[in-house]
Symmetry: C2
Subunit: 214 residues, 2 copies
Amino acid sequence: MRISELSRQSGLSVPTIKYYIREELLPAGRLTSPNQADYDEQHLRRLRLIRALIGVRGLSVEATRQVLGALAQQQATPHLVLGLALGVIPPADQAATPAQEVPFQEPREQDHAVEALVRELGWQVYEGSPARAVLADTLASLQDFGVALDWTGLLPYARLAEQTARLDLDALEGAPDPLEMAERAVVLTRLLEPALLALRRLAQESESARRHSD
Amino acid sequence: MRISELSRQSGLSVPTIKYYIREELLPAGRLTSPNQADYDEQHLRRLRLIRALIGVRGLSVEATRQVLGALAQQQATPHLVLGLALGVIPPADQAATPAQEVPFQEPREQDHAVEALVRELGWQVYEGSPARAVLADTLASLQDFGVALDWTGLLPYARLAEQTARLDLDALEGAPDPLEMAERAVVLTRLLEPALLALRRLAQESESARRHSD
């Protein structure tokens, strides 16, 4: 297809596509005449993934290049594809970073609590996943606000999260291509976030009406 | 208790407490001498709710005053308390606003989809709840990104949200006072939001490892 068709199908402007080519996020098309190039489905898939990484995940061009590079270099198992696309696994192994750049931090009480939660759930999750820090921060905030909810109080929420994650993964089954799977994973995970919180608010309201009105 | 003790127990500085008194969010204490006042448990509860509305929900002083006013004026049933605290129900009835200030908007296709979702679930939810617009926006974004997920695709997520909401409401049972219930509702609902999303991420990762690694 021509670049105008690539633009139409990706929803990105021609100058944006040309910028991504200059930045080597996207390979150039096959030249069919001195000033015309031909693009294929693989270009479109890659462009859609770039759009998701930059537009939905909010990555920089440089970080996007790293993720795309890691996806291309490694034996891209579906698990690795999802981890890289969603930012669970950093594109470059953090262990390669010199030690002085990652100062050692004494684990907080809440980090141990998150470890206990993950162990209790039997979850196989990356040691350095940013989501762990979010959970530890939440436990600290709840404590600051005097709310008596520790990691065991998060357990039933985590069990529901398991079911939510199963729905998410079901929606990715049958993606015909790793790039498409990565794109769908980013779009579905991120775009559904506000919707899941909105559903919880509405469900709270309905449950409150059910319990309290008579 | 003295203001210093009120400060210690609320975690708010004495100048902040005095500011809230000047702004009439908090009633003044009972004077025990010309420059000393006494505060009771009710002051502390109200102060904690103010802290949650301003510090967690991010309301302005003016909006906080309106919520507190509405809580005090009306027959505060638990359902109303929760609706006001969480912002589902506006403190002043929107119907009282002159029509020209709320321009009529043609419902989008997505608004009808959200209506169908709510009806299918049998949820009793406020017509003007901001969460409905969030759902409609999400459906529109998914469509823009070419994701084949319509309102029926949100149904299983909504069923899980119902269970999450039951856990939330369980945590509010037995609050001894409407002010405390309102505070806990704000703190639990808002502070758990990032944690719920983090649990989903971790659960996705673990589920992906389970399905895809061998």
